[in-house]
Symmetry: C2
């Protein structure tokens, strides 16, 4: 199992225009992270979970969970994935997970509530540019969930919460990469290390 949690600092929490994903609080970034996390060429990885934390207007927070093993009818292009997110945020959500599509659930959990739940089953790693080199640490990693910020990164308020739950802070590059590039590289390093 491997997991990813992407922080969408301004990601819209109501249905948005599928023809302007950057204008919907950079939903495009979240879509590319989902795509990079889940998809191989012509197939979907087994045992991957992606969580999206949507913190934008008008109704934050909303949390989305995508489980690769239950997923149906998703393709790797931004617009298709955005359609699933759009549908999920359109539901009347509660603190519990509501299924919005096969393999996709959404809720009104806060970041702290979400991490409290995730910390019971995952080792949580926070990806930040100044962290320890993932490549050197990867052999020690088991059952990891990686937290990654979007174009804004992670703000202080959220970072304080994240650090309460974090086993370690890791980095994939000295360059400031896009979130979805971090996801692709994490998968690559875990694959090379034989970590399922």
């Amino acid at each position: 199992m491997r997991g990813f949690l992407i922080i969408g600092n301004e990601a819209f929490t109501e249905p948005f225009n599928l023809s302007d994903l950057p204008g919907a609080g950079r939903i495009d970034i979240l879509c590319r992270c989902v795509s990079q996390a889940l998809f191989l060429s012509h197939s979907i990885r087994k045992g991957v979970e992606v969580y999206l934390m949507l913190l934008g207007e008008p109704d934050p927070p909303k949390a989305i969970r995508i489980r690769s093993d239950e997923l149906r009818r998703m393709s790797p292009d931004e617009r298709n994935i955005a359609g699933h997110i759009r549908k999920a945020v359109g539901y009347k959500l509660t603190k519990d997970w509501t299924e919005t599509n096969s393999g996709i659930h959404a809720s009104k959990k806060t970041l702290k509530e979400l991490l409290t739940e995730l910390s019971t089953s995952w080792e949580i790693y926070y990806l930040r540019e100044d962290g320890k080199d993932l490549h050197e640490q990867v052999s020690k990693i088991k059952n990891p969930l990686f937290i990654i910020g979007d174009h804004i990164g992670v703000k202080r308020a959220e970072e304080d919460i994240i650090l309460e739950f974090t086993k370690d802070i890791l980095s994939v590059s000295r360059l400031s990469l896009m979130a979805e590039q971090c996801v692709a590289i994490v998968n690559y390093e875990l694959d090379r290390a034989g970590i399922i």
Copy 2:
């Protein structure tokens, strides 16, 4: 300098619907490859060139060249990049490069004509699943241009041409990755090895 050439086996060679990029011969894949090749968080890499070989109907072949150092007004989302490709294929093109946007040129070059031109200034590597491990070979690489197939891979006719120009066949993973994941990993390995 580093370069990428993506083979779009069915990529449309006339203007297409921006709201259905997969239906335009999987232009979405080409867009994600461009995005992964060129963009960092909030900036564009220096010295990267991306070539797209569009082989779909109705007017193949069309070749597009994107030079990061001259590029203006591109953002990393699929729809924005697709808009640039759409504009480029709408021009009346010749065998010479026609500028269709700052940093973007298009032509009617065949794959063989394009590779003949590229081979004068690049070391050409072909990415294929059964190739040598890029991670182990990367220290030997200088001034590379990587050829990557889309969801269909590279067909026999194009592969025969590619192999005439190829210095080596490399692989990034034993898994069958999406083209844009290969691009992200190539950048990662070149970055780690300090290859500019």
